[in-house]
Symmetry: D4
Subunit: 251 residues, 8 copies
């Protein structure tokens, strides 16, 4: 029940074509449609360029393809994260324009023009093993119509590699910092820029790394004040958040 049908109901009450008890029954059964937050979903799909996102892991190729078709019908961009080449094959049979990003394990379908945001997001990654997560962040943000610049292989054990890009980093409106091992990159980057840093610990490491616990704790304890953290390997979440932040500047 939306605002229009509610108005219609009230008009029927006024004209007497609907009795009060009948109207009361209708209203009691509108648990949430009338609430403001329903706008969120609307906003999400039609106006704002939020992509339709499908989490591919644990789904069959057939399942992914079917869901993909349904989502694509809305006309927006479609993104499948943690997907396999087999899932891509199934999707491509239906959508020849769909692309597969091998490193990031993402399938994308670009149905809307790539909006060029005024400001941009910087995605920084420590080592080459962190690239799949960094790429997932980049692709997510781009599917949300935001511009992204990437700076890869700039880990802190050779801090001059990162310093070479300081001026460029300072032009971004938000930075995504992706790092496994000890995850120190987020703190160093945080100290170099004056904008929010979304830190993503990765599971790249061994031994006392405990599958990402080490960089996760590092990033949560960052001595830089402008660092917030998402889950281990959650490149999607970081890209999503960065896009939300960058978009505000643009709107």
């Amino acid at each position: 029940m939306n605002i229009e049908s509610l108005r219609h109901l009230l008009e029927q009450v006024r004209t007497g074509s609907t009795g009060i008890d009948e109207a009361l029954a209708s209203l009691r059964h509108l648990p949430f449609e009338d609430l403001g937050f329903a706008k969120v979903d609307h906003h999400r799909q039609l106006r704002c360029g939020f992509p339709e996102v499908i989490y591919g892991a644990g789904k069959s190729s057939e399942q992914v393809a079917v869901i993909f078709e349904k989502r694509a019908a809305g006309g927006g961009n479609v993104l499948v994260t943690r997907s396999s080449p087999e899932q891509y094959t199934a999707v491509r049979e239906r959508f020849a324009a769909a692309q597969y990003h091998e490193l990031a394990r993402c399938i994308t379908l670009q149905q809307q023009a790539a909006a060029t945001s005024a400001t941009h997001i910087a995605v920084v990654a420590a080592g080459t093993s962190d690239l799949p997560v960094a790429e997932e962040a980049r692709i997510t943000a781009e599917m949300m119509h935001q511009r992204v610049q990437t700076y890869f292989d700039v880990g802190v054990a050779g801090v001059h590699r990162l310093l070479a890009h300081v001026a460029q980093l300072q032009q971004a409106s938000v930075v995504v910092a992706v790092a496994g091992m000890e995850g120190a990159l987020a703190s160093v980057v945080g100290g170099l820029v004056a904008v929010p840093v979304i830190a993503v610990p990765t599971s790249v490491g061994y031994g006392a790394h405990f599958q990402g616990l080490a960089p996760l704790l590092t990033m949560l304890n960052s001595c830089a004040s402008n660092v917030a953290v998402v889950n281990i390997d959650n490149g999607f979440g970081a890209g999503y958040l960065a896009a939300l932040i960058n978009r505000q500047k643009t709107e």
Copy 2:
């Protein structure tokens, strides 16, 4: 030394008014001043309203007062977090205008006009025990010239309390969600708004709470895509990040 003074130096070398050895000495002693990131500090203090922040815990009242005086000399706002009433007494002797926020354990000195940002930050807290952390976030953001709206005691065990504020929450440009116990607030809020949510787990709880580990893990695993997390009880960090995000919209 910036690009202009570097050009000036080179011209002096060309005209001979500065000898080569003298120029070399100048250049050798610029290990980092020439780098772009030095602007960060400049930017921080003069133009952007970043407060001068002092971490009070573990410092003597005398130490806090001395540092406070030094920082206040710059003319910006000054903020002491995790401070004691004794530290406040020492500060007030020097600065009669300094204020103490008992719940948030903060000392503030407002030396700049409270800028009214066009957009605002929403700070949401689950229970009354979470207020010290939420207040620390609010005060931090306000000292950075951002407007803040607070919504307290809206924990998810009575979700209608939160839903009563949905329309208001959706008008904020960023939400800070503060919660102890199980920390579920961040996920529910995340699903209700279309902007970034900075989640702060608190140490409020007992037993299997493990001093904040429970809500920390909850927030890191949020099923909402727009949630990033800061350290347990880190109200300052959340307020700082929210201010950075909200400011972008304003600038």
Copy 3:
């Protein structure tokens, strides 16, 4: 806005004393009051004998007394958990009938007749150090009008002590099993009865006990199928749940 005011509004629409746009505005601003779950609160306080519960820890005596007064005004029973003798003194000044339970650290005010439930709850505790938690469970359930039988000091290292009460335990409609140390009591009790067992690990222990982690894990891994677990030292929660279960049988 409740069902009555909604009916009133509709009637005004019918008679024309309220315009449709005006009515729409009123209805748009009822984010949740009309929803069914609002009944929960109503149900809680008036019909069902749920006590008004105040968590005493971290509150001043004055704060507890003030909240107590407000809650007592509803006419139901009032319960303060994790309270101090000082808080009790402050409450007693206002309510002479209030009682303090030293072991359980609870303040109670019984304003409703102690209903005698047909069935009863068994509260079983392993050692004398677990009594505070067990007593908190008992008092909570009794404040919710349920009968309770207690069996204390029946730890499994002398299993004959527990077996002496098997026939009695089997007459309860639900069992609360409270244990620190290794927490094995829950499994043994679970195997002896055919009703739900609510297990409460306590922080009684040292070393590899890790403040209750050991019995918590024990109870979560119980080889008995009828065991569910609440937080470490959460006697209140166990008593509350047991009361809900026992009440069903009675209703």
Copy 4:
């Protein structure tokens, strides 16, 4: 030996048809049969509809089939949890009426009429990945002759999905809440209903999820008072407990 055979034995002693030494021997060898808890087993199989449960994991198809046959001979319902299609094939050769529930990985044999309990259990699941655990709970409860209503895909990141079912949830006598990720569902549901909630954390998640630790801690620290927790992925235990609770109302 029950009370009747004990009376019979004593009468034989009185009449002299049994000698004292012979009677002593009989009594010495009853280490536990005379104890009340032996009734539990009896009760379990004949009167109350407890299913015969076999844990399939780690057993060969042959082993499962043999045990299945033995248990089915009792005439009650038979349930195999965590079973494979291969185990099912082996069972079906002996029992054509046995069914396999692929999602829940359960084999069932319904030998007793499906009793229709007056009240019912609600099983609520956050995401589609949590369905195997939720289905295991449903099937377990149904094999114990209890009615179950399911509400799937109602995770808190879109809390309106859950709110749409509030009125229905409030009619259940007990709720099973199944959730992976951050597991916040249990707290929100707990606040919406006035009956016990059995929470089941699942291992669905990644990174700082630590194979179910995150939702486990969430649920143990729930700010709702009516939530008890079972082991990670333990759908069987939750269904079993819910059936015990619902049955009380019916009996």
Copy 5:
């Protein structure tokens, strides 16, 4: 009720001096007394020299004194572990012969002659900070009538100190190895002797020691096959076990 009283009851039934219903009532109320394990308690107190043990921590001086008096009445040795000087003062008022062992925080009352076991127990401790735990083990074993030899300050960072006692250690029938820090002592001792080693990790350490977790894991993973472990700081348990083992040789 033992076998004799059971025979007596049956005879009364035969002669008619006890009615069948009366006999049935008597038998129904013997839930466990007739079972063999009741002998354990008997054995414990009268024949075997097990001390009466009172855990002092968390008890008032008055409580300890009262319990002490009750236990001492049995005529056996009495031991209070984790006791305070105040508790000792209260005990000494009643029992002038009671002794306080300051380092081990134990109160003892020796009421039985100190039996001299043929074989003996070796108690080995790594550092001087481990002595309280080691002494608790020694006193416990001695109160159980076993001879003990102690070897203190023989930590492995100066392994020659331990090697100086190899020949002596090899004459013990069981070794208690007490160590904090990294707890390596247990493994080295285990490799030097051919008898059981009971290892006790202590909470002596800091940082990554995690209050005894480090030596606990060390001892559980010992590369020596003859090492078993008790809880952190559990000197009592180690002394108790060692006494049980040494006693077997003597009996």
Copy 6:
């Protein structure tokens, strides 16, 4: 070099048949053979029936067979733990008398008569899934010439199963208690007997079991005083220790 050869050397020095420098050289190269603890090895192999033990995991079939042959040459019993059927095949080609114990994953070669110890060891296991570990304990002890009685499937969720064996358990000189899930068996058994209990947690369980951490903590925190613990799944260590303890009684 033993005491005899040392005497011989000294005599040669006295008679001059060995020069001082030559003697010095001999003595310098005896870094440890002269030390008392060398007796351990001697004792181990020839006199006491310690088996030669080979840890099979991670070794090739060829490696196991070669080491086996070398060890068997000493004439004692040989035991391979954690071995595969392939390793057994390789061993059997060389030793037709070698046996494979499928459940326990052990290869044994009995070269010494099975000594019949006067007293015996009880091995108790909670569930059928714990049998591999229990069997490893039994076989290890038997290879060390000790008698073993086993009591399987006596978990505490049906405590009457365990109580049926109390009288028998009380005749053992030491008990090995093997349990996964919550591991409560050790505490209950500990309370029923007056001898040492060696507890073995197993990795049987799921979820909050954390691969054996749950029963490990349970056993370390046992409220029974006579329980010591070995590593998770370490049936070998438990059998070894039990054999050492039982042997003392026999010697």
Copy 7:
């Protein structure tokens, strides 16, 4: 750009052979080349014999071979750690002189003469399962031109094996101690020598070993003052550090 080329540039500016804008451009593009730490890289490759190290895990054979070729072009030694036989095959096609070390999983190419350092490194390993890590340490150090002596299978459960080598160990300038299980080796070795000990915990163990956590904590808590620790299984890091230390003595 070093100080000489900087002087050269300034001279060109003075003479006018380089314009100011051109000079500025050169200087602006030296964000870090002028800093002292750039020497590190230079030092690393040409003068000091640091090997070029490639981490093989997670790279394809083709990737390893290509990177190998590029690095080998510099003329220094090349080392691939955690490499597979397949990667070796790909490398050997290009470099016939490359060697594969199966146990250590390393590929090496020795292009510089094996310098004979005056002093040497001792690498000590507890068990045969620790050899891969120990060998990785040895090979790394040798590729850095340092002499290494190895002492394998000297675990502390048979401490005489280690003591046999004390005199030799005391001649090393630094010791690498590699141990899994409980990791006690590092402490014992630390007490025997007066030089730095680099301890490497390995993942060799099971159960409460937690994949290397046990020896890691052991080594961090060592009661010997001269022990520092690297990550679990990090033989490369230990060898690298030991080479740096040993080289200092030599230079």
Copy 8:
């Protein structure tokens, strides 16, 4: 007994002035004195300038003073770590020259001339709260006659502060890096220098810092190859190791 006295004994045997049995007795009682490692202690005190170290924590002032006196008698430097002002007062009564270092909580007595090592150690600390640990490292190294340079407040959130000292850091022979919070300093320093870095995590932090666990894991996972780690807050150990390394260069 050293090699000379052994030769002497043998000569006495040859000449008959010592009987064989007497010689045997002498030799049997040399369990370890003859072994090389006895030299360690000798070396430690007389020749090498190792300080006599006393761990003050948990000792009474009187105990510290007595031990101090005993150690000082040897003529070397004396160091008390983790000491209190009260302990210092007690020491100063006996040794007027003893000094107290308040920040580092150390008492020192310099009895040997401060040797000036050719090379030096750099001690780097991230924040002012880390100074106590850094100072403990500095004082320890200086008491071992090594020169130390300190660089404090150079945390990575303002990396330019650290870069300002790169050239100086590169002149040290070993670096001690002390950091709490996220501990990223060690990795950045490791990448800037070509010598060993001894990393010390501190307990400075809160929340997900877990008393030093966060920087400990950071440092163990450092992406720089030249970093080894000591226990949390172990400034003494780091200073000790750094002194051992720096001394090698000097000798």
